[in-house]
Symmetry: C2
Subunit: 346 residues, 2 copies
């Protein structure tokens, strides 16, 4: 008999609320014969204030025992910027080698977009998750003086770039349009840019049926608002991926519906699934958060674990729910979760 | 009697065409008593192919003698990516200490935007121009092997950050809304991010009438498409500035109308004015390029040199021209330039 042993990290702010709905929908969609075990972990601001800990070695060991991780959101204004991000979220992405950060963008029928007209948006960003400017390399000298110098080092390896580029080519090949765009800034960041471009071109030769293009990250932001239908699969570095996936979320229905997976494709470590949005402390505890992004992240989680039919049921339920929203009064977090749970069970 | 001694760099692709119109409008707007001298320089792909040179020491010395520089665009697919960018454009920005890269965004009446509704967009980005990931620090080891490592080092100094932050505060204070947003990614790039944030907060104390906010660069892309009216003045680093000003241009009428100034505020070296767009080789030589961005860059140039009334006349002429475009057939590069020249003279 099948089972899913899930680590649940509600985290801070609205994380608690949206994760509860994600779990509700997960329970509703899973077939009877699948045994779902969940264990909740208390990472985030509360634990940090109480103990000073963000993620201990013992925590990491405990998380490793799970099949996957569902994360709400981490971050609170009471904690200095960077402490929880570097100490928990990025630490986990690096420790568990989440090198494929998968972020689909699809503008579903009936969903509002800030763009004029009715753009067709259906692409997926494969963001590198373990290198680039996110490594934490760098430092500060003469801190706080007029002669302070602060550096940030973007580290890019052939190993790290090639594996994520291959992953993106395989995803592009499996999609009907078979298009892949590399986004970088190789005319300025020439060292890293040439590494990315050379490897991209080398791997492209092995995927002759995939149509490729290269685009500078600045130009990409223009296309994302003027011709988003142009994109099918995008592969890019950690920082550019961070920036363009927020923009992609904004144009394709907002961060209320943007899901993501921090994936370790080999399965050596558990993958982690989380909404793209943050902890939104301004609306926390009010039942105002939209749990859809978390529910869609549960869909990505199920697909990653091989539950393709269940993942599709979640996506269909979300599509149907969003299509009926226009003109209706806003619902609470639990009302949306309940509605989705009913749909996936039905 | 007054005079302007201008270096003109048409550059590659559509650069030639748009600069011709920029000069036409400049001649038309200047009062009779101002003597305009121009000297054309042949930087760009043609010279590079002929001589292998991008910008020699002698070139830099010659350019230094001018009051200002008007640049069309540099870049051509026949030159490897990065050669002209690093060898000419960035070299000049660094040599002439163009640390204030000024990029206004204003959605003028009658101008199409990819955004729905009728957003009010009127902000200016102060992009740092001489530091950050643009310094060219970094390198490659084991190039072309499976063990290649490529690094890019973002260099940030208290000196460099403070002067551009001060410039931005002064600009914010001089505008009616008096708002300034710092855009960075201080939760991940903690070394550089803390330097920027600390200096921003320190300088803010000297400008109590300026309302400030901090925003991560990823979140900023969301606001630029969902609430662009939120922004008044933005200050940010070189790379984030590159990315968000292309997005800003896209939402406020397109890169056909986006102007920029690479400014050396002390006047020790000549400042350089250029459209945000590139050389667009695909439409070069066809009279299809919109010279408006170059004409607006001439406006920034005039304001920098103290010709405030003339700068305002150019902006008014562009506003009037844009307001009348809707529904009319597209005009050629020279037709638009002629129309603007007539308006500024009128
Ligand atoms: C919270 C932050 C560290 C994170 C990132 O920059 O990756 C977030 O913006 C994201 O996109 O998941
Ligand atoms: C051409 C390139 C080097 C340049 C930059 O990145 O600064 C351009 O994109 C710009 O914004 O002026």
């Amino acid at each position: 008999s099948r089972s899913i042993n899930l680590a649940v990290i509600p985290g801070d702010g609205i994380g608690q609320e949206v994760v509860a709905e994600g779990l509700k929908v997960l329970s509703a969609v899973l077939p009877q014969d699948v045994k779902l075990e969940t264990k909740e972990y208390d990472f985030g601001a509360t634990r940090y204030h109480a103990t000073g800990e963000t993620l201990t070695d013992a925590d990491a060991e405990a998380l490793k025992q799970h099949d996957a991780i569902l994360l709400g959101a981490i971050g609170d204004p009471s904690v200095p910027s960077g402490v929880l991000e570097r100490g928990f979220l990025l630490k986990l992405r690096f420790l568990f080698d989440h090198h494929v950060n998968l972020r689909p963008s699809k503008l579903l029928p009936g969903v509002a977009t800030p763009l004029a007209g009715e753009p067709e948006i259906d692409f997926v960003v494969v963001r590198e998750g373990t290198e680039g400017p996110y490594t934490g390399n760098g430092g500060t000298i003469r801190k706080g003086t007029p002669h302070e110098v602060a550096t940030e080092v973007s580290v890019n390896t052939a190993f790290g770039v090639e594996r994520v580029v291959r992953d993106a080519f395989a995803r592009a090949q499996a999609r009907p349009r078979k298009k892949l765009a590399l986004i970088h800034k190789n005319n300025v960041l020439t060292f890293a840019g040439h590494l990315w471009t050379d490897i991209f071109n080398k791997v492209a030769a092995e995927f002759p049926d995939v149509t490729t293009e290269y685009m500078h990250v600045d130009a990409a932001t223009i296309y994302l608002v003027t011709q988003p239908e142009r994109f099918d699969v995008i592969v890019t570095d950690n920082l550019f991926g961070d920036i363009i996936t927020d923009l992609a979320a904004a144009v394709s229905g907002g961060i209320g519906v943007a899901a993501s997976g921090n994936i370790n494709p080999s399965g050596e470590f558990p993958s982690m699934f989380e909404p793209v949005h943050g902890s939104a402390p301004d609306i926390a505890g009010q039942g105002k958060a939209d749990p859809t992004a978390t529910v869609l992240s549960v869909g990505l989680l199920l697909r990653h674990l091989g539950y393709e039919a269940e993942a599709a049921r979640i996506e269909d339920a979300v599509s149907a729910d969003l299509a009926e929203r226009t003109g209706k009064p806003a619902r609470s977090t639990t009302e949306i979760g309940d509605a989705l749970a009913v749909r996936v069970a039905g």
